[in-house]
Symmetry: C2
Subunit: 319 residues, 2 copies
């Protein structure tokens, strides 16, 4: 197996193979993944751009346009396509390759499909670590595309420096249910398929909803585009550039650090809980049997484990 | 404050107020929530029905139909509407009340909107606990409706005894990206808006995709309906009834116990990680400052905390 130090050196030299290798190791939670990420964390540069929205909003077409745009300025572009593949198969999807095939032969475009399989932190943990690798390898922007409007998408969007929420006319009643909050995910709300019926109505609706945002939050810009025809894209690029320019390096680093720490703490917690279960109940299997026999509820077990951990902390609280 | 014992007694007597009170306490992670849930866990009865699908698929209309159906057999019906509200406002949505208002005055229908605010386990933890409360209070089915096709929706769907994935024609390319796995979420795949153009194509597509499912997984039934006109609903009810009848009580209990335990372990882990951060780095704030000063990466901190925990376990491993 290639050593950790070799991988890190080769990434520094721009080796695509080393990048792919590092991505596989962090996705699978290999033993040296924390060491790889520890070194790469401080080497991150450039910015990350999150793109989220419901199915059918035209996100992939927009990402294609975006790759073309950044390639004209000779940036290397990374794309992490977060796919809603199920936990049961965890199969990697070919969708990204099919949808972005016009860039598949460009060596300065690196496209990676993410599934949740193998990573303790689920999709958002896997995306965070992959983004760290690509950003440290010099890709900028790293575009994170995720399908959906749920909790996981909020977490993933929250990871990026700048986030676009893409909406289209014709989503039905559910757009209304987004009112109370989901729109606040986006730094920019992109209304795609501007040539479609219902676009005026959607824009009025979105703008009216933004009126309900808490006064202390910055209202997102709303920009109409047609990713297919190219209409409005110059406006969108301008808005993104202004946001990139407005964020200081320190601000970006601080946000990224806090989010990364939170994610890692959660993942650690899962490992620690499993060990406590081992100590207190001889492991998960035995604990499950107690529950099924009706002797203990999962809630009682949880409470007991927490008490046990607190006891240990009392005895070991001093350094 | 009403005592834990009083709340549990009053829930047993069917008090709506006690149910609402218990729901608030578990959602907000109040100190007695583990005790409330510990008692209610074993009192759960009936079944839970998850309904998921992309925005615009007509899930709310279907839930309305479903409530009507179960009310004709005099069941009490619980509905948990999981809303994609953002973590920034956490505002409760009125959407459920608007969309299901035809049942709002029925005392045997309990509708609760869920946001992630306050619950350590996020939306899936909050939904799990609310479902435990409603199921112990005698609601059956407890219908869990969630918008989306992402990771969070998979987790929530996985919580229910029986899950419906609702799709409609016209979702665009993203339906293709669901191919590798998302369809396996559903015990039944409901093709809604059967009168719309593209329904034949969608059905062919879905059925072709199911051919790629691993042979050891049970293929979901595919049923066409129109939630608006009522077409196909009898078929759907029949399919649900067959699935309910096929699940043994033990099987349901076992699945629910394992999932509940997993969720609680994760939530415990977050609490424990915070405490370790306190012991090792004098808390989160100080740790963040070390990161921002470039002295340590979040990954290095995570590794150190894990080592610290392992040290404690070694010293305290015996009971």
């Amino acid at each position: 197996m290639t050593s950790t130090a070799d991988i890190i050196r080769d990434i520094g030299e721009g080796s695509i193979r080393a990048i792919a290798r590092a991505l596989s190791r962090v996705e699978n939670g290999s033993p040296d993944s924390a060491d790889i990420l520890d070194v790469l964390f401080g080497k991150q540069q450039g910015f990350t751009l999150g793109i989220t929205g419901p199915p059918g909003a035209g996100k992939s077409t927009l990402v294609n346009r975006m790759i073309t745009r950044y390639r004209t300025t000779d940036n290397s572009v990374g794309v992490i396509a977060v796919d809603p593949s199920s936990p049961f198969t965890g199969g990697a999807l070919l969708g990204d390759r099919i949808r972005m095939q016009s860039h598949a032969s460009d060596p300065k475009v690196f496209i990676r499909s993410m599934g949740s399989r193998g990573h303790l932190g689920g999709l958002s943990g896997a995306t965070r670590d992959a983004s760290c690798v690509l950003s440290a390898a010099g890709y900028s922007p790293v575009i994170i595309e995720t399908v959906g409007v749920g909790q996981a998408e909020v977490e993933i969007a929250d990871l990026a420096h700048i986030t676009l929420l893409v909406l289209v006319p014709g989503l039905g009643d559910d757009v209304q249910s987004m009112k109370a909050g989901i729109m606040e995910i986006g730094d920019i709300i992109v209304l795609n398929k501007a040539d479609r019926n219902g676009i005026d109505q959607l824009e009025s609706y979105v703008k009216a909803s933004l009126e309900f945002m808490p006064a202390d939050l910055k209202k997102p810009e709303v920009i109409r585009i047609s990713a297919v025809s190219g209409e409005g894209l110059e406006d969108l690029w301008g808005a993104i550039d202004r946001l990139v320019a407005a964020q200081t390096g320190e601000e970006k680093t601080a946000r990224s650090a806090v989010k990364t720490l939170n994610g890692i703490l959660t993942e650690n917690g899962i490992i620690i809980s499993e060990k406590l279960l081992e100590i207190e109940y001889n492991g998960r299997k035995a604990a499950e049997e107690l529950i099924l026999a009706g002797q203990l509820s999962p809630y009682a077990i949880g409470k007991k484990l927490l008490e046990r951990a607190e006891g240990m902390f009392k005895h070991n609280g001093s350094k």
